[in-house]
C-alpha cells in the first residue's frame, strides 16, 4: 500500500510542478519518488517493516496487497524509475509527462492489488487514460498522433467489452468482490443457476485483459502503438501494462478457479496461438521497435501459460518471468532509443557496435540472451520455472512454447549480425556513454540467472 501512496503523491507533485518546469528538472525527483516507493514496498514485502497502519482506511474488500503483490509493486516502481532515469528527457517545458507516467503506474498498482471488480476497472482506466495521452505526447509527430488515437479507440472499445463482462458476472454471481466470487463459485450448485452468464462474463472480461496484455487475437494495437509512441512511453507500456495486466489477470482467474478446467482450455489455445503468431510475425519485421513489439506479444503468450498453472503459491514464477522480461526489454528499448536516428529504425543502427563500443555490444548481447532465454541469464531461469510449472498441465503447449522460443532466436540474433559486423563508417552515436543503471540491470539479470533460488525465497 505504501508504494501506491508514494507514487500517487509523487505523481500529483510532479504534475503540478510540471506546469512551469522543464521535464529534465523533474526527472530526478520523480525517479527518486519511484525508487523510494520501490524500496519501501520491497522492505514491506520481505517483512522487514510493516506500513499497513497507513492503509487502514482503504477497505480490504476493495484493495489489498499480499506480500507477493508488493513484490510486483516494487518491481514496477523500480523499473519505471529506471526508465525515467535512463531515457533522455526533452528540455521542453512540461514535466507533466513524468507525472502522467507515475499516475499511470498508480493505476497499475491498483490493478495489482484489486480485490473487487470496480477497483480492477478503475485500475485499468487509471492505467490507460494517462497512457492514451502519453502515446500522443509527441504532439507534432503524426505517428505519435496516430498511435494515440488508435490506442484510445481500441482501448475504450475493449473497456466496454470488459464492462459488459463485469455486468454478466455480477448478474451471475450477485457480487463484485473477487474473494466473494471465489467463495460463491466454489459452492456447488450455486453456480449452476447462470452458468453461461458467468462463462460469458469471464470470456468478455478476459478479452478486456487480453487486450491489455496484447495477446493474440487482441494484439492489433500493440505493434502500431509501440511504433508510434515515444520510446520512453513504449518501454513503459511494454513493461508495466503487460506485467500489471498479468498480475490482475491471474488474480481475476484465481477467483474463478472452480472453472479452471474450462478456463485452461481456451487459455492454452490462445497461449499457443499467441506464441506462434508473435514469434513468426516478428521474423519478417524490419524495424527494431516492431520486432520488439511482436516479441512482447510472444512473451504474452508464454505468460499465458502461467495462467493454467495452479497460481496460488506460485506467484513467484510470474514474478521471475516479469523480472526477466522487464530487465531485458528495458535494456533493449534503451539501446534502440539511443542508436535510432531519424531515418533509421532498422537493425542496421547497430552495425559495427562491437568494434566501436565494446561494452555496449556486450551489454546488448547479454540482454538479448536473457530475452531469448539462454542459460545463466535470468531469462532462462524464468522460462525454465514457467515451463516446468505449466508442463504438468499441458506438455504439448510447453513443447510449442519451446519451439516458439527457438524461432525467437532468429530475430533476437538478427541483431548480432549487425553488432559484430565490421563497419567502415563508424556510427557517431555509438561512442556515447551508457547509463550506469543499464550496467546494473544487466548485472542483475546475470546474478539472478546464476542464483535463481532468490526468487522462491522472496515469496
Amino acid at each position: 500500500m505504501i508504494g501506491i501512496f508514494i507514487t500517487f503523491i509523487g505523481a500529483i507533485l510532479v504534475l503540478f510542478l510540471g506546469i512551469s518546469k522543464q521535464e529534465s528538472s523533474s526527472k530526478n525527483l520523480s525517479a527518486s519518488f519511484l525508487f523510494l516507493a520501490a524500496i519501501l514496498s520491497l522492505v514491506e514485502a520481505l517483512g522487514f517493516a510493516n506500513f499497513s497502519s497507513i492503509a487502514t482506511w482503504a477497505p480490504k474488500t476493495m484493495i489489498d496487497f499480499s506480500q507477493g503483490e508488493m513484490m510486483f509493486v516494487s518491481l514496477l516502481a523500480a523499473v519505471t524509475s529506471a526508465i525515467i532515469a535512463i531515457f533522455p528527457s526533452s528540455n521542453h517545458k512540461g514535466s507533466d509527462k513524468l507525472g502522467l507516467m507515475m499516475l499511470s503506474l498508480t493505476g497499475a498498482f491498483m490493478m495489482i492489488g484489486a480485490n473487487h471488480l470496480v477497483m480492477l476497472f478503475l485500475g485499468i482506466e487509471v492505467l490507460s487514460i494517462p497512457l492514451y495521452v502519453l502515446a500522443g505526447s509527441d504532439k507534432l509527430n503524426l505517428n505519435s498522433n496516430e498511435a494515440a488515437i488508435k490506442y484510445f479507440l481500441m482501448g475504450a472499445f475493449s473497456t466496454a467489452i470488459f464492462l459488459l463482462g463485469c455486468a454478466f458476472i455480477y448478474g451471475g454471481t450477485a457480487t463484485l468482490s473477487l474473494t466473494e466470487i471465489e467463495v460463491r463459485m466454489s459452492i456447488v450448485g450455486h453456480f449452476a443457476e447462470f452458468p453461461s452468464l458467468v462463462k460469458a462474463g469471464v470470456v468478455l472480461m478476459s478479452t478486456g485483459l487480453l487486450f491489455k496484455v496484447s495477446a493474440f487475437p487482441f494484439h492489433f494495437w500493440a505493434p502500431d502503438v509501440y511504433q508510434g509512441s515515444p520510446n520512453k512511453i513504449t518501454t513503459f507500456m511494454a513493461v508495466v501494462v503487460k506485467i500489471a495486466g498479468f498480475v490482475a489477470f491471474s488474480n481475476f482467474l484465481q477467483a474463478f478457479s472452480a472453472l479452471s478446467g474450462w478456463n485452461n482450455q481456451w487459455i492454452i489455445l490462445l497461449s499457443v496461438l499467441t506464441i506462434i503468431f508473435g514469434n513468426v510475425v516478428a521474423l519478417s519485421q524490419k524495424s527494431v521497435k516492431r520486432t520488439l513489439a511482436y516479441s512482447s506479444i510472444a512473451h504474452a503468450g508464454y505468460l499465458l501459460l502461467f495462467l493454467i498453472t495452479p497460481m496460488q503459491g506460485n506467484m513467484w514464477v510470474l514474478f521471475a518471468y516479469s523480472v526477466a522480461y522487464a530487465l531485458s526489454t528495458v535494456v533493449l528499448f534503451y539501446f534502440n532509443d539511443k542508436y535510432s536516428t531519424n531515418g533509421e529504425f532498422g537493425f542496421s543502427m547497430f552495425t559495427g557496435l562491437f568494434h566501436s563500443n565494446k561494452s555496449a555490444a556486450i551489454l546488448m548481447t547479454i540482454a538479448l540472451f536473457s530475452i531469448a532465454g539462454i542459460p545463466i541469464t535470468v531469462g532462462f531461469t524464468a522460462k525454465y520455472y514457467l515451463f516446468t510449472s505449466a508442463f504438468d498441465v499441458s506438455p504439448i503447449a510447453v513443447c510449442i512454447a519451446l519451439i516458439g522460443s527457438a524461432i525467437s532466436i532468429v530475430y533476437y540474433f538478427k541483431g548480432f549480425k549487425n553488432i559484430y559486423e565490421v563497419d567502415i563508417n563508424m556510427n557517431q552515436l555509438h561512442a556515447s556513454k551508457i547509463h550506469w543503471i543499464v550496467y546494473m540491470m544487466v548485472a542483475v539479470s546475470i546474478v539472478l540467472g546464476m542464483c535463481p533460488y532468490l526468487f522462491e525465497r522472496c515469496f
Binding site: F369, I374, P375, I376, F380, T381, Y384, F387, T388, F391, D392, P395, V398, C399, L402, I403, S405, A406, I407, I409, V410, F413, F416, K417, Y420, P452, Y453, E456
Partner: protein, 479 residues
C-alpha cells in the same frame, strides 16, 4: 569444480589481457586444467570403479536441483580430450584474432568440462547451452564469408534439439519422487512404453543434431566450412562428442525402455550416414567440407556402434570418440596450416606441398592414416570394435558400415595426394617447428593409442560396465 572454474577464470583474464600475452602462455595455462583434473582426482581419492563419483554438490535452483559434478572413467576420458585439445586449439590461433578468440575458447573449455561432469539434468542442459554460445560467436566473428545465415542455422538447429532435450528432462523431473534432476533420481524413473518413446525422442533429437546422425546433419558442412579453423576444431573435435556422450550417459540409461524401439532406426540411419558422408566426401574440393563429411561418416559409425548395445560396440565407440576428436582436430590444424601458408584450401589449387616440408608431410600422412583406420594408428582399434559390434548386431549393416574402410581410404588418400603430392602449384611459406609441435603431440597420441588402445579402454571399462548394468537393470533390454 576447479576443472570448470579454472578455464572460466582464465577466460575472464583473457578478456582483459588477451592480446598482451603470448598465446603459448595461454595454451599452457589452459593445459593447467589437466593438472586440476589430477588434483581433483587425488584430492578426493577417486577410484576408477565405475561409480560416477560426486566431486562437488551444492543446492541450486531449488531443493531438487543441485549443482552436482561427478567424475568417473568415462567423464575422465572426455575431460582429458577436452583439455588436451583446448590448448592445442589455442596454439593455432592467429595473433590478430587472439584477443577475441581466447576468452571464447577458454569459456568453451569450461562449459564443455561442465557438460561432461554435470550430474544433474538441468545442469547438463545449462552447460550444454553454454557451450553453444562461444562457438556461435567464434563462428560469427571470424567466419570466412558473410556466413550469418549458416551460423544462425547451426545455432537454431542445435538449439531446437536441446530444447527437445529440455522438454524430456522436465517431463522426467516431474515424474521423480521428490521433484529432482539428480542423475540417480532420473534413472529411477519408470516409464511406460509410450512415455519412454517420447522422452527418448527428445533426447535423441538433441543428440542426433549435435552428433550429427544422418538426416540431421545439414548444418554441419557449411558451418565447418565458414567457421574459422578454431571453430571447426572445437565443433568437430569436442562438441560432437557431447552428443555421443549424452547418448551413452543420459539417453540410454534413462530412457532405456525406448532403446529397443529406436535401435533399428538409429542403426540404419547411422549406417546410411556412414556411407552417405563417405560418398559425398569423395568428390569434395574444399578441404574443410571434405573433413566435415568424413566426420559425418565417422561419427555415424560411432552412433551405430552405441546402438548395437554390445559391449564391444559401446567401448569401441567411446574409444573412437576420443580418437576422432584427436584426428579431426589434427586434420583441421593441418588445413589451417595449409591455408595460412599457401592461401588456399581448395584441392584443385593445391598439390606438391610435400617437398616444402618433409616433417609436415609425414605428420599429415600419419593423421590421414589414422583417420583411415590403418593398423598401428588410433583409428584402427576403435573402428574394428565398432564394425564388429555392428556386424554382430546385424550382418548386413555390418557389411555396409564396413564399406567405410574402403571409401575412407579413397577420400583421405585423395585428399592427401591432391594437397601434398604431385607437382606443386602454389608457393608455400616456411613452416616453423613451433607450429608443428601441437601436431607432433597429436601424432604421438595417434600412434600410442593405435598400438595400445587398452590404455584408454581399461580406464573406461568400469564405467561402461556400470552404465550397461544400469541399462539392463532398469529395463531388461539387454538379454
Amino acid at each position: 569444480m576447479e576443472i570448470i572454474i579454472l578455464p572460466l577464470f582464465l577466460s575472464v583474464l583473457a578478456a582483459a589481457f588477451g592480446s598482451k600475452v603470448n598465446k603459448i602462455v595461454w595454451g599452457a595455462l589452459s593445459a593447467l586444467t589437466l593438472l586440476a583434473m589430477i588434483w581433483v582426482k587425488s584430492n578426493l581419492n577417486i577410484q576408477n570403479d565405475g561409480v560416477w563419483h560426486t566431486t562437488y554438490d551444492m543446492p541450486w535452483f531449488s531443493s531438487g536441483i543441485h549443482f552436482t559434478l561427478g567424475i568417473d572413467g568415462f567423464t575422465g576420458l572426455m575431460l582429458l580430450l577436452t583439455n588436451i585439445l583446448s590448448p592445442i586449439i589455442i596454439f593455432s590461433i592467429n595473433r590478430d584474432k587472439q584477443k577475441s578468440l581466447l576468452p571464447l575458447i577458454l569459456f568453451m573449455q569450461a562449459a564443455l568440462n561442465g557438460v561432461f561432469m554435470a550430474k544433474d539434468g538441468l545442469m547438463f542442459y545449462i552447460f550444454w547451452e553454454l557451450a553453444l554460445i562461444p562457438i556461435y560467436f567464434i563462428c560469427l566473428l571470424y567466419s570466412s564469408k558473410d556466413a550469418f545465415k549458416t551460423t544462425i542455422k547451426f545455432f537454431i538447429y542445435t538449439f531446437i534439439g536441446s530444447l527437445a532435450m529440455l522438454a524430456s528432462l522436465i517431463y522426467l523431473y516431474l515424474k521423480t519422487k521428490n521433484h529432482s534432476f539428480a542423475y540417480e533420481e532420473l534413472l529411477a524413473v519408470q516409464l511406460n512404453h509410450a512415455e519412454s518413446i517420447w522422452v527418448g525422442a527428445g533426447f535423441l533429437f538433441a543428440f542426433a543434431v549435435k552428433i550429427p546422425i544422418f538426416p540431421f546433419h545439414s548444418w554441419q558442412a557449411n558451418t565447418y566450412t565458414y567457421a574459422p579453423a578454431q571453430g571447426s576444431m572445437l565443433l568437430s573435435g569436442i562438441m560432437l562428442k557431447m552428443g555421443l556422450y549424452g547418448l551413452i550417459r543420459w539417453y540410454m540409461p534413462i530412457a532405456a525402455e525406448s532403446i529397443s524401439f529406436y535401435q533399428p532406426i538409429i542403426v540404419t540411419l547411422s549406417v546410411i550416414g556412414v556411407i552417405y558422408g563417405a560418398v559425398i566426401a569423395i568428390k569434395q574440393n574444399d578441404l574443410k567440407r571434405l573433413i566435415a563429411f568424413s566426420s559425418l561418416s565417422h561419427v555415424g559409425l560411432i552412433a551405430a556402434g552405441f546402438f548395437t548395445l554390445t559391449e564391444i560396440g559401446i567401448q569401441g565407440g567411446i574409444l573412437q570418440m576420443f580418437v576422432h576428436g584427436i584426428n579431426v582436430v589434427a586434420l583441421f590444424y593441418i588445413v589451417e596450416i595449409i591455408e595460412t601458408h599457401s592461401g588456399s584450401r581448395e584441392l584443385s589449387g593445391l598439390g606438391g606441398l610435400a617437398k616444402f616440408n618433409r616433417l609436415f608431410a609425414a605428420l599429415y600422412l600419419i593423421v590421414v592414416l589414422g583417420t583411415a583406420a590403418v593398423p598401428f594408428t588410433n583409428g584402427f582399434p576403435g573402428e574394428f570394435m565398432l564394425l564388429k559390434g555392428v556386424f554382430d548386431y546385424n550382418t548386413i549393416s555390418g557389411v555396409f558400415a564396413g564399406l567405410t574402410i574402403i571409401l575412407c581410404a579413397v577420400y583421405m588418400l585423395r585428399m592427401y595426394q591432391f594437397s601434398m603430392l604431385g607437382e606443386s602449384k602454389t608457393s608455400f611459406k616456411e613452416i616453423g617447428i613451433k607450429q608443428l609441435w601441437p601436431l607432433i603431440i597429436l601424432v604421438v597420441i595417434i600412434l600410442v593409442i593405435g598400438i595400445s588402445p587398452m590404455l584408454i579402454l581399461d580406464k573406461v571399462n568400469p564405467s561402461v560396465q556400470k552404465i550397461m548394468l544400469e541399462i539392463s537393470n532398469s529395463k531388461g533390454v539387454l538379454s
